[in-house]
């Protein structure tokens, strides 16, 4: 774990649903915390709460793990959720002194901690309740509070699972994160989404600088341990889209042509089933190395 150092922040985002944002966020965080000494903090910012439920759900019984359930109940009842932090931050004339402790951050393991989502985040979709310019700095301020609280770990990396839409919270994350990680799938509609997303990101974040963007192929169909020709076709197309966007729109968009993650049926169960499947660990380690490469 590192001290006195700002953590590197990575936001997994794609406005298209079903590309694997939640799974990728969790697998990256799990791989990182399991196979390195890094301290990782993971946020679920999606009001659909997929990551939160995946972390807390016992699939055998269909109920929340008792430890998570009682912690979450205290967190919600004690107004220590991410929504409560936003609520306090946006109150006019009130100093932002939201207390940071382990009643706000759940400890999944020694190296992996988690800030869950809450249904109230749906209110953020109704932008008129919150001021866009004010919200822009929310995540930066919250991360600063976490880094200086002295009551929780010093995190090396912070990973955000963003909603599949442009909410004020995702705007706040995009305004401060070091890397936007975009998973895409080898099909026309997912590939089409990349072009729209790159264009949209620039327009929506302006006049603030667009962060470094990295796109990679998730759910890659393979043959003989390599992407199929069909997957390779979409990989080439997306690489060209990234190159064109970098050239024409002045954004920094990189396509990871070597760091793809293979398709695996039932990967979602890995979150509740004890870790990243062995055959995917190398894929996620490769993806992480590629992320570090652009973060340098």
């Amino acid at each position: 774990m590192s001290a006195n150092k700002s953590p590197k922040t990575i936001a997994t985002i794609n406005f298209k649903g079903g590309v694997g944002k939640t799974t990728v966020t969790w697998c990256l965080a799990d791989t990182l915390s399991t196979y390195s000494n890094a301290a990782v903090l993971m946020f679920d910012l999606d009001a659909q709460m997929s990551l939160t439920q995946a972390v807390g759900l016992n699939e055998d019984s269909g109920t929340l793990y008792p430890a998570f359930e009682s912690w979450y109940e205290k967190c919600v009842n004690g107004r220590r959720t991410i929504f409560d932090a936003i609520d306090q931050y946006t109150k006019p004339g009130v100093h932002f002194d939201f207390p940071i402790a382990y009643d706000f951050i759940y400890q999944i393991s020694n190296g992996l901690h988690f800030i869950p989502s809450v249904e109230d985040l749906y209110w953020l979709e109704l932008a008129e309740f919150f001021d866009r310019d004010q919200m822009k700095d929310f995540m930066r301020r919250l991360l600063g509070k976490i880094a200086h609280s002295g009551k929780v770990s010093d995190y090396d990396y912070v990973l955000f699972d963003c909603p599949p839409s442009f909410t004020l919270l995702s705007y706040s994350v995009l305004a401060c994160c070091d890397l936007v990680l975009i998973p895409v799938n080898p099909d026309f509609f997912a590939s089409r989404g990349v072009s729209l997303l790159l264009n949209s990101l620039k327009m929506r974040i302006e006049p603030h600088p667009t962060p470094q963007i990295a796109v990679f192929m998730n759910k890659t169909k393979t043959y003989a341990n390599a992407p199929t020709k069909e997957a390779a076709f979409y990989m080439r197309q997306i690489e060209q889209i990234c190159n064109r966007a970098s050239k024409e729109q002045g954004i920094r968009a990189t396509f990871f042509d070597d760091a793809w993650v293979r398709e695996r049926v039932g990967i979602k169960r890995a979150i509740t089933g004890g870790g990243v499947p062995p055959e995917l660990v190398k894929d996620f380690q490769g993806l992480w190395q590629a992320c570090l490469g652009v973060l340098k």
């Binding site: 026309f188 089409r192 199929t228 020709k229 997957a231 889209i241």
Partner: protein, 146 residues
């Protein structure tokens, strides 16, 4: 009731079906032989046309003799897609029309196109490749009001 109208047993039914299959095979063989004889008579009556047909068949022997490598196939696809993206659809189509069947097959394979038949027609291959060209063009296009 006469015995002909009684229902057959399962064994009798199978035997009956086998007899019918054998009869059908004999009929098809007879038709095939007859078509062969007609073909030979036509070839003898029009020898020049027969030579032309043989040469054309050799030329369109699709599944050997490609003149491009997989890398060249992808480069060629990029060239065609770039032309189509710039609005030069006819030129893009002309390039594909000029390609031989083996070259079209290499391009299609490199794009990950799969065919239901092992020996697809030139038209089917060309259409499939042009489908990928259209995909590529759509992927690169977006409307911005900004």
């Amino acid at each position: 009731m006469s015995s002909d109208l009684e229902f057959r047993t399962s064994d009798q039914e199978v035997l009956k079906l086998l007899e019918e299959c054998a009869e059908l095979r004999r009929t098809l063989k007879a038709i095939s032989a007859q078509v062969g004889r007609m073909e030979n008579r036509v070839k003898r009556a029009f020898p020049a046309a027969a030579v032309q047909a043989r040469e054309r068949k050799a030329r369109t022997n699709r599944f050997g003799g490609a003149t491009i490598t997989p890398e060249q196939a992808l480069a060629e696809f990029d060239r065609v897609a770039a032309l189509a993206a710039s609005g030069a659809n006819e030129e893009a189509e002309r390039i594909l029309e000029a390609k031989s069947a083996p070259d079209l097959l290499v391009i299609a394979k490199e794009l990950g196109v799969t065919f239901s038949k092992s020996k697809p027609s030139i038209k089917v291959m060309r259409d499939a490749i042009f489908g990928k060209v259209r995909e590529s063009v759509l992927l690169s296009r977006h409307t911005s009001r900004g």
